[in-house]
């Protein structure tokens, strides 16, 4: 479980996140939704520790990522997997090397075991045949799937996805959504997905946090999303119809 307590973030004089508190449950696909520029990405970067909030805590099962020692922070990061908006594959490595990378860096397994694990992850995302290709030879959807395979290589407890469907066609988007949802339930991990794609919200969202202008305006289950009285959320949902 990941808990946010009173997160605040400023960039110079502008307050981007206003006292955000929320809880993301284990074994569920938690979505952060909102318009572009609402602060979703800044919030996600605060959660994964790429930005430090000016105030507040980000607790990973009780461990505050921003107050851990360097060693404990590194250990916590090995429990995290991240799917970036642009996949962020290492373009000097082929697909298999990309998936092997976190294993090579942190796993104590033998080379044969690491290779087997990387191939298993690639098989899990349906890309066994692409292991020798370079990232530039792959389509956007395939790159995202490789990034998912890399993210799950170390069997993470927490998975983060920043706009996983951006730049993808609807069919590829649904494949990525389904993979994220399946992996979340299969391994019982805490998943947070940053999105403004309403098809994803309807398809895989279980718990939703709605951000508007840096404020956490609404939180609840997907089932109650469409009955919300919040005017900004209603406007956001109606814009899709």
């Amino acid at each position: 479980m990941i808990s946010l307590i009173d997160i605040q973030k400023h960039f110079e004089d502008q307050e981007v996140l206003h006292h955000i508190s929320a809880t993301f449950e284990e074994g569920k696909t938690n979505l952060i939704i909102g318009r572009s520029g609402s602060g979703k990405t800044v919030l996600l970067r605060c959660i994964i520790g790429l930005l430090t909030p000016d105030n507040g805590q980000v607790l990973y099962d009780g461990r505050d990522i921003h107050r851990l020692s360097k060693h404990d922070g590194t250990l916590l990061r090995q429990e995290m997997g991240m799917l970036f908006q642009g996949a962020a594959l290492f373009d000097s490595m082929n697909v298999l090397e990309n998936v092997m990378f976190p294993l090579d860096m942190f796993s104590s397994k033998t080379h044969r075991e690491r290779l087997a694990r990387a191939r298993f992850c690639l098989d899990r995302v349906g890309l066994t045949d692409a292991e020798n290709k370079m990232p530039s030879e792959l389509s956007g959807g395939m790159q995202k799937r490789v990034a998912i395979a890399r993210a799950i290589a170390l069997e993470p407890r927490y998975l983060f996805c920043d706009e996983p469907n951006s730049g993808l066609d609807p069919i590829s988007s649904r494949i990525i959504d389904r993979l994220i949802s399946d992996i979340t339930h299969e391994y019982g991990i805490t998943t947070i997905v940053n999105t403004h794609d309403m098809a994803s919200v309807r398809g895989i969202g279980e718990q939703v946090l709605f951000i508007h202008d840096g404020y956490a305006e609404w939180t609840g289950s997907n089932a109650t999303l469409y009955t919300s009285e919040n005017p900004h959320l209603r406007e956001f949902l109606e814009s899709d119809q």
Binding site: Q78, Q85, A88, M105, F106
Partner: protein, 248 residues
């Protein structure tokens, strides 16, 4: 302006502190180091040899045509050329050329990694991205540059021999005598010492500009240009300082 300069120096020093950390995985570090040695060092060998060859030849011709006069001994042509090559050209000028070739390459490569979130991906995994990316490049440059300087000196002398032989400017015996005349080994060593400092400047400053890129492709291009300009100015500044320290 001053505040921005101090901020940049502070950021650079903090980045260097992160860079000079023990590699998290020695096996991967060794692979990276060898790869950078090939990519930054070996791939620069041809341009260094080519330029040094022609500069050595040109120096010989210029000294003969414009500096030398009949009352000067003939060997002064070889002597003057040797001193120019050893003291400045092979270390400082070659490093300025490499700041353009290698420095812009480092800045744009790391800058592209930054804007495509590859550095963020390393950080999220718990990899010390500064050490992982920059340390092999800096060490590879510091290893490769003295070797390149050696090739530069040799190529410069070969260029001089070829032009003397082909153009008949000077007898090979006079050139050889000039190259050996009043040789001070410290001049060679001071060139090597300077080149080590310049290698560090090229790799670390270019790495800093790439690592701190914010934005997109325009900023990556700008980082490449800035890294070349700043590295070149710093090389000249430290050249002046080190020449005073080592030769004064």
């Amino acid at each position: 302006m001053l505040r921005r300069l101090l901020h940049s120096i502070g950021s650079y020093l903090l980045l260097m502190r992160r860079t000079f950390a023990r590699p998290q995985q020695m096996r991967i570090f060794r692979q990276q180091y060898l790869h950078e040695l090939y990519s930054l060092g070996y791939n620069s060998l041809f341009i260094v040899i080519l330029m040094s060859f022609f500069i050595g030849a040109l120096l010989c011709v210029q000294i003969k045509l414009n500096v030398w006069s009949p009352w000067m001994p003939r060997f002064t042509i070889g002597y003057a050329m040797r001193e120019v090559i050893l003291l400045e050209f092979a270390s400082s000028i070659i490093c300025i050329i490499l700041a353009g070739k290698v420095g812009s390459n480092i800045a744009s490569e790391i800058g592209t990694m930054r804007v495509t979130q590859q550095i963020d991906a390393l950080d999220v995994m718990g990899v010390n991205s500064a050490s992982y990316i920059l340390l092999p490049k800096i060490l590879a440059m510091v290893t490769a540059i003295p070797l390149l300087v050696t090739f530069s000196i040799a190529s410069g002398f070969i260029g001089a021999y070829v032009v003397c032989w082909a153009g008949g400017f000077l007898s090979l015996a006079d050139l050889t005598y000039g190259l050996q005349h009043d040789y001070v080994p410290w001049h060679l060593w001071s060139g090597y010492i300077k080149s080590l400092v310049f290698a560090f400047i090229i790799a670390s400053v270019s790495g800093f500009f790439g690592y701190t890129v914010r934005g997109g492709s325009i900023e990556v291009g700008r980082a490449g240009t800035n890294s070349v300009v700043v590295s070149s100015v710093l090389i000249l500044f430290f050249d002046l300082m080190l020449t005073n320290l080592l030769m004064g």
